[in-house]
């Protein structure tokens, strides 16, 4: 249903060659070695993966990868098809940032003394929506979830106040316009995959074709 439309909608508005951030969502079997199979599709083309997350999905036994890259639409589409071609991959979607809801988690280790002494730090942390995960005498660990710019901004803000350690997770993303994978999986499990699985954007641009 909807995800195909999102692809259409992108063709119109995105500059086809212009690089931008794309989030690729891969539904796959949970199998040893599959991550490597997917990763080499990028490295073969010398494309850097900015972020990669592997987790459970809404369906038991089905794995979900989120991969973030900076590329043009055409390249991303080819990559998506190459990934979908892998035997253990069920389905691949790719979306621009405005089509997804996404979050990253960042952890910050700051000296507890610094926070205690300097009111600005406390204000900063509140301003960025940070929550304390661990408070010890020597240090405190805060967590922030949000977009890259938000977690980055706090790193910058904390720089003057002895940021001891910083780490950020890969991106996790939910496609706004997706009904989840339950229905799709039923089709995959059926002996003959149904028409829904045969997505082809050519079908949607019939009027553009017969111009001879």
């Amino acid at each position: 249903m909807s995800t195909e439309n999102t692809i259409e909608h992108k063709i119109d508005k995105a500059d086809l060659d212009g690089k931008q951030e794309y989030t690729i969502t891969v539904y796959a079997e949970n199998r040893i070695g599959l991550l490597n199979r997917i990763a080499i599709i990028f490295s073969k083309r010398k494309i850097n993966i900015e972020s990669l997350n592997s987790s459970a999905s809404e369906i038991e036994g089905i794995h979900r990868f989120n991969i973030v890259i900076q590329e043009g639409y055409e390249v991303v589409r080819k990559l998506a098809r190459q990934i979908e071609k892998q035997i253990e991959v069920l389905k691949v979607y790719f979306n621009t940032n405005d089509e997804i809801i996404w979050q990253e988690l960042a952890l910050y280790k700051v000296s507890t003394d610094e926070i205690a002494e300097k009111v600005t730090v406390e204000r900063l942390l509140r301003q960025y929506g940070a929550s304390a995960v661990v408070i010890r005498k020597d240090y405190t660990v805060f967590a922030v979830t949000g977009h890259r710019e938000e977690t980055d901004a706090l790193v910058k803000a904390l720089e003057p106040y002895e940021l001891i350690e910083f780490v950020r997770s890969a991106r996790v993303a939910i496609i706004k316009d997706s009904a989840g994978f339950h229905e799709k999986l039923k089709e995959f499990e059926a002996f003959e995959p149904g028409e829904e699985l045969v997505e082809n954007e050519f079908l949607e641009k019939g009027e553009k074709i017969f111009t001879m």
């Binding site: 796959a28 079997e29 040893i32 070695g33 490597n36 199979r37 080499i40 073969k44 589409r77 080819k78 098809r81 190459q82 979908e84 071609k85 035997i87 253990e88 991959v89 069920l90 999986l185 995959f188 499990e189 002996f191 003959e192 995959p193 149904g194 028409e195 699985l197 045969v198 082809n200 050519f202 079908l203 019939g206 074709i209 017969f210 001879m212």
Partner: protein
């Protein structure tokens, strides 16, 4: 421990009541599975980590023929030749470590040329994995980029399911090579196994997209509106066993059709709508007219750069209809106006129904005009040379005259390959076996051995250059031992000819390390007890070829051809197909 006698009794018991469990080792159940999958021939080489499988094989000699090759690369190329000639899945065995790494070139070749293979490699005991044990290599990760699928078995209970999946994956959809790595403990493990069940569905794998009539209708409308339509076909027609469907399509639509070297032979050379070969050394008309046609219909081909030349000057005026079973191929290199996803065995008849009957006489006449120019300037001098030097083309012409187009021609890689593809006549499908995508020198000899096992009733001629032959000459030993009646034709120009041609044309004739010397090939063959002879003048050529072809067993013939002959026409790299040179 059970005895071999027990095993035989159990196998018999299984035959009687199929539900009875089979008790045996992982190795035995693997071999039983191969038999269930219809395997008759295995190309392989034993070694430490695959010894339990070879031990079991000892008792299967009446059901499984094992061809002991001389190098694992030879084994996998033979399996490729077998698969390409027969249309069945090729099977090869190798041990862990170097045995497995020697398969890599063949896997890459089979991957890029979509050849169905199941390769079984032995692996060290599961408890030794990751310890850098003797002959341990991370075969799964080494072969991941060059296999359609691979899997490491560490428990014998997995073997049946994995083998069934392997065969299903290798041969379904767009075919490709599959590798199963089996640890030694799993090979030895004694278990009770259920009946073997073939695989016909994997939920995460769609071998072929379901055909939707909408695309067919769009494609037909475009084709029917075309004034100058042109068909390009590739191996997809052969792999899809759609030769008849393809013929019906071109016969009705009257559209001229040209082939990639992987698609050659899908329709006979003599078919009136077969206008020849595409690409760098393809025919004049098909290349030039690619940039004049109004609708380009690509069927089971992937727009390789050797076919398209410079992509931004390739068929820009044309609307492209692309039929392919692999959705990833559509829009990969050339943008399609209409992409018809699906198995061409299914899509072609639907399309044939909707296209108008047509003749396209004027358009076909253009192909004939270009062909005449090519005949005058290139083909006649190549096939009927006037100088003393023999040409590769005249050798091919003689083969055509002797075999009438019914031989299976296996080539290596280089000038002789291009000449063979250009001039060999084919009446039958699966008759042109060559390393297309990967361009693997050393492919020819072992692949011809496999092809002979795959098509035992055919005359199999391996055409090989003096360079390529020296990459896998050890497989003469395989021919010697197993008697594969392969005709080996070495076209010797005492150069690495294709590289020399490029150096001549594009590097100011700076011949850098292309001057290759050869052993006495005749003496070499004879040392393997293979009949052989050598021809260095035209007067003896025909007789020598007839002797080779009519010889009962294997035979090696070395033909000395002109040293600095070039293959033309040629689309120089980085140029457009319409800038093809006749000289």
């Amino acid at each position: 421990m059970e005895t071999a006698q027990d095993t035989i009794q159990q196998t018999e018991a299984k035959a009687e009541t199929s539900k009875t469990l089979f008790k045996g080792t992982g190795s035995q159940v693997l071999l039983n599975g191969l038999i269930e999958e219809g395997v008759t021939t295995i190309f392989g080489y034993p070694g430490g980590a695959i010894m339990p499988i070879y031990d079991a094989l000892y008792d299967y000699a009446d059901k499984l023929e094992h061809i002991l090759v001389r190098h694992e690369q030879g084994g996998i190329h033979a399996a490729q030749g077998f698969a390409r000639a027969s249309g069945k899945v090729g099977v090869c065995f190798a041990t862990s470590g170097p045995g497995a790494t020697n398969l890599v070139t063949g896997l890459a070749d089979a991957q890029i040329d979509s050849t169905p293979l199941v390769c079984i490699t032995g692996q060290v005991f599961a408890h030794l994995l990751g310890t850098d044990a003797f002959q341990e290599t991370d075969v799964i990760n080494i072969t991941t980029p060059v296999t359609k699928w691979n899997y490491q078995v560490t428990d014998a209970k997995e073997i049946q399911e994995v083998l069934a999946k392997a065969f299903y994956i290798a041969k379904s959809g767009r075919p490709g090579p599959v590798l199963i790595d089996i640890t030694k403990n799993a090979q030895l493990q004694l278990e009770e196994f259920p009946e073997y069940v073939k695989c016909n569905h994997i939920r995460s794998y769609r071998p072929k997209p379901k055909v939707r009539v909408e695309y067919i209708e769009q494609a037909a409308e475009l084709i029917n509106s075309a004034k100058k339509p042109f068909i390009l076909f590739g191996q997809g027609v052969i792999l899809g066993r759609a030769e008849e469907e393809f013929k019906a399509f071109i016969n009705k639509s009257g559209i001229p059709a040209a082939w990639t070297i992987m698609g050659e032979g899908a329709i006979p050379t003599s078919h009136p709508l077969n206008v020849g070969m595409l690409g760098m050394h393809g025919n004049y008309g098909p290349n030039v007219l690619t940039n004049e046609c109004d609708v380009l219909i690509a069927i089971g081909m992937r727009f390789d750069d050797r076919v398209t030349g410079r992509l931004d000057k390739y068929a820009k005026q044309a609307k492209v209809v692309h039929l392919d079973i692999d959705p990833a191929e559509i829009d990969k290199n050339v943008k399609a106006e209409v992409g018809v996803w699906g198995d061409c065995k299914e899509t072609l008849p639907l399309l044939t129904n909707l296209v108008n009957e047509n003749k396209h006489e004027d358009w076909l006449a253009k192909f004939r005009d270009y062909n005449q120019q090519e005949i005058d300037q290139v083909i006649t001098p190549e096939l009927y040379p006037t100088s003393d030097d023999m040409t590769m083309g005249e050798v091919l012409r003689n083969i055509n005259e002797i075999c009438g187009g019914d031989a299976v021609i296996v080539t290596d890689v280089g000038q002789h390959q291009m000449v063979a593809c250009r001039y060999a006549k084919f009446n039958n499908t699966r008759s042109n076996i060559t390393s297309g995508g990967l361009g693997t020198m050393g492919f020819g000899l072992p692949a011809a051995i496999g092809a002979k096992y795959g098509a035992p009733d055919k005359t199999v001629i391996a055409i090989i250059g003096d360079g390529g032959f020296q990459m896998t000459p050890q497989e003469l030993g395989t021919i010697m031992q197993f008697g594969a009646a392969v005709k080996i034709l070495i076209l010797n120009n005492r150069f690495l000819g294709m590289v020399r041609q490029w150096q001549q044309l594009f590097h100011d004739k700076r011949y850098s390390f292309v001057n290759i010397t050869s052993p006495d090939f005749v003496a070499l063959a004879k040392s393997y007890y293979i009949e052989a002879s050598k021809v260095d003048e035209r007067a003896n050529l025909r007789q020598a070829l007839e002797t080779m072809i009519n010889h009962e067993g294997s035979y090696l013939l070395e033909v000395m051809v002109g040293r600095e002959n070039n293959v033309f026409p040629m689309v120089p790299q980085g140029m457009s197909v319409s800038e093809i040179r006749l000289k």
